[in-house]
């Protein structure tokens, strides 16, 4: 069970080809006490899963070598990794992207740019609520409109 209380036991695998994106996510998660391991594409992510058993995976979708979709496919086809929650974190924020991601089997879906202030709350909310019932979380940056 993923909760705020056992955050120190989290081992999060962050997969992204953008070093900056990895760093932002890593800093926020580490700040809250989670352990983080990273990979810069889907293939590397799968290799990492061979070594460790992450609490969940936070992955970009568009990546060289192997993208997030394919990595998810491999994870799902492997009984040992099929139960690992996979959260999509993507700059694909166009209409229909979220539906496509859920349809493909991603457990959760967040869009870039992520907000360091609300990332942990968003993740905890995602894990406590089935994705299909949650239409507002993760759609856009919560401050998108506030900023104008």
């Amino acid at each position: 069970m993923i909760s705020r209380e056992n955050i120190s036991s989290w081992l999060v695998l962050v997969v992204d080809d953008e070093a900056d994106s990895i760093e932002v996510a890593t800093r926020v998660l580490k700040f809250h006490g989670a352990k983080v391991c990273t990979a810069d594409n889907g293939r590397a992510g799968l290799d990492a899963v061979q070594q460790i058993k992450p609490t969940f995976i936070l992955t970009d979708l568009s990546m060289p070598v192997m993208d997030g979709w394919e990595m998810l496919h491999h994870l799902q086809n492997n009984p040992q990794t099929a139960d690992i929650p996979v959260v999509a974190l993507t700059a694909h924020a166009m209409v229909g992207d979220r539906e496509r991601a859920v349809g493909a089997g991603f457990h959760y879906y967040l869009t870039k740019p992520l907000s360091p202030l609300t990332l942990l709350d968003d993740l905890l909310r995602l894990f406590s609520t089935p994705l299909s019932e949650n239409s507002t979380i993760g759609k856009t940056h919560p401050l998108d409109k506030d900023a104008s």
């Binding site: 953008e18 900056d20 994106s21 760093e23 932002v24 996510a25 800093r27 926020v28 700040f31 568009s62 993507t90 700059a91 694909h92 924020a93 166009m94 209409v95 869009t111 870039k112 740019p113 992520l114 907000s115 360091p116 202030l117 239409s135 507002t136 856009t140 940056h141 919560p142 401050l143 998108d144 409109k145 506030d146 900023a147 104008s148």
Partner: protein, 611 residues
């Protein structure tokens, strides 16, 4: 082709050709029938008269021979030897006499010769004959006896008696008697040319047949009563015949020549004529049918060809042409006009096809352009968000202190970076949204939603901004509004957040009011009112256009993309709604979004889901 012209023509021609022929044939046949009937009768009568004349001639010749002999000088007083010689001379001169005899005035035979040796004398047989003989002998006139049979041969004989007159006294001395053989008349009948079925025979005074080509009839003593001359009756042969009779008188007695003609024979020619007329009619029929059909075919065939060509063209064979355009007649004219029309159609069709092709190409190009645009938008969205992710992420980490403490000046500048990054993100989002709206790519996904939930979500999103500006946030939800509505809550929320952030942005003090109310039985309204600066009337017209804010100065004072109201208007229109603006400078603005009210069939569980 139920009433094919060929058939009509053929029938017409047959009618035209056959009717007169048939009429003429019938008239001719009737005429001929009458004429031929008359002619046949005349011929028959002539034949009968001819025979009668010959019979008469025969008998007159005998009479003349006998008269000549009777006038021989002093015949009566010659010696018996000489008399016998003279009689024998006459008998052998012609074979026409059965017997010859010289009688005295009392009727006693003096001398006689006979063809058949031993045959009796030629004498009157009955009292009547004797009276006749006596009268003839007394008056010195010619005696004609009745027809009687030769005792030995049964040949019919006619007795002619010529008085022998004394040249000096003029007294009757005796009679020269001759039994004339009528058998020779039969021979005469044999020589008469008769048509098939015709029969000629001779009757005596008692209507007994005395001469007939068939001698057995004579032998049997057949009788026949001739009907009135030229009438139809049962003939001697027993068949129906046209019968003509001609009497030949000799003294007190007469013989009758009869000619029978069977009706078929009599009307043979008429029947022939009728047959010819029939054949001619038949030939006329065939010829007329042929001509009619040929003529009709020559006229109709081109029309049929034309019809077939038209049919083919109708089925898309536009290269087909009428085949009879070379003709000089009306059909040629029609064919040429038809071909002109076809070529015109061909040209028009080609032009049409060309324009369709063009249009298709243009559509394909437009579709491709649109696809490229969508692809570009998607890529842009992704590519612009990626660096923003770093900018917002790092600045926010710095501001929140996750990455260590900053001095006041650095914090301020980082906050500016963060704020402008968010503004850039909003700008990117709005531009992309507007592009999608203008490309008609906004999808309205109607589904049941709870207005209460919508209000709660808006309140939670706006509360921090409201608090920052220390404004009152008033929320009114019409209790008559159904707990569940059908529509696209995402789009409605986008409209509401846009309007609310505008309202907050342009209001320095007072309140912002969010109201949801039932407008009529088929519309509901979402309105956002503020107590802000208001919009002057002239600006109310263009406020919804892209990148238009009140003026340059306000753009700086009230930062924003300038696309919010455009998006509001476009999304509202996409949902079949209307936007209404009421505003007074200095007292505030009211934006009202009127949307079609679509009820949900099963209103339930809305409140539960909201909490």
């Amino acid at each position: 082709m139920q009433r094919s012209i060929i058939r009509q023509y053929t029938l017409t021609f047959i009618g035209l050709a056959v009717a007169p022929v048939l009429l003429v044939g019938i008239i001719l046949a009737i005429q001929n029938f009458t004429r031929e009937g008359g002619q046949a009768l005349q011929a028959q009568q002539a034949l009968t008269q001819g025979i009668a004349t010959q019979v008469e001639d025969y008998l007159e010749q005998r009479e003349a021979e006998l008269r000549l002999l009777a006038q021989a000088p002093n015949l009566y007083n010659l010696g018996q030897e000489e008399q016998h010689g003279l009689l024998e001379n006459l008998r052998t001169f012609t074979d026409a006499y059965e017997n010859l005899a010289l009688l005295n005035a009392q009727g006693q035979e003096l001398v006689s010769v006979s063809r058949v040796v031993g045959e009796g004398a030629v004498q009157p047989q009955s009292q009547a004959e004797e009276d006749a003989f006596t009268l003839a002998a007394t008056l010195g006139s010619v005696y004609y006896g009745p027809v009687h049979s030769a005792p030995s041969t049964s040949e019919p004989l006619l007795t002619i008696g010529i008085p022998i007159i004394d040249p000096d006294t003029g007294a009757v001395q005796g009679m020269l008697m001759g039994d004339v053989r009528l058998t020779l008349i039969s021979a005469l009948l044999d020589r008469v040319e008769l048509g098939p079925g015709q029969a000629a025979y001779i009757l005596d005074t008692d209507n007994q047949v005395i001469a007939h080509p068939d001698f057995s009839i004579v032998e049997n003593g057949a009788t026949f009563v001739p009907p009135p001359d030229g009438s139809r009756a049962t003939g001697l042969s027993g068949d129906q015949a046209l019968i003509v009779s001609e009497p030949v008188a000799f003294g007190g007695s007469q013989i009758t020549v009869v000619v029978e003609n069977p009706p078929a024979e009599a009307l043979g020619l008429a029947l022939d004529t009728a047959l010819v007329a029939g054949v001619v009619t038949l030939i006329a029929l065939v010829v007329a049918a042929g001509i009619g059909a040929t003529l009709a075919r020559r006229t109709i065939e081109p029309i049929r060809n034309l019809a077939a060509t038209a049919q083919a063209i109708r089925q898309g064979e536009f290269y087909r042409e009428a085949t009879d355009a070379h003709r000089e007649d009306e059909i040629g004219e029609l064919s040429r006009a038809f071909n002109d029309m076809t070529s015109q159609i061909r040209e028009n069709l080609a032009a049409l096809e060309a324009s369709v092709q063009e249009a298709r190409l243009a559509t394909a190009q437009a579709r491709e352009a649109n696809r490229l645009k969508s692809e570009f938008l998607s890529t842009m969205s992704h590519e612009l968000r990626t660096p923003l992710n770093a900018m917002i992420g790092f600045s926010e980490i710095m501001i929140s202190g996750m990455g260590g403490t900053l001095d006041e000046e650095a914090l301020h500048m980082t906050q500016r970076i963060h704020s402008n990054s968010l503004r850039l993100l909003a700008l990117i989002n709005d531009v992309l949204d507007l592009s999608k709206i203008e490309a008609r790519r906004v999808e309205v996904i109607a589904r049941p939603f709870s207005p209460q939930n919508l209000v709660q979500s808006l309140v939670s999103q706006m509360s921090s901004l409201i608090q920052q500006k220390k404004l009152d946030f008033v929320v009114n939800v019409d209790p008559l509004l159904p707990s569940q509505l059908n529509g696209d809550p995402d789009l409605i929320e986008r409209i509401a957040t846009n309007l609310l952030s505008n309202a907050i942005k342009f209001t320095e003090q007072g309140s912002v009011t969010l109201s949801l109310q039932l407008a009529s039985n088929n519309r509901w309204e979402l309105s956002i009112a503020d107590t802000g600066i208001g919009i002057p009337p002239h600006a109310q017209n263009y406020i919804f256009d892209p990148f238009r804010q009140l003026d340059g100065s306000s753009q700086r004072a009230y930062s924003g993309t300038g696309l919010g109201l455009t998006i509001v208007r476009e999304l509202t229109l996409a949902m079949g709604g209307r936007v209404n603006l009421q505003s007074h400078v200095g007292s505030g603005s009211i934006f009202t979004i009127s949307l079609p009210l679509v009820m949900v069939s099963q209103p339930a569980e809305a409140g539960a889901a909201a909490s």
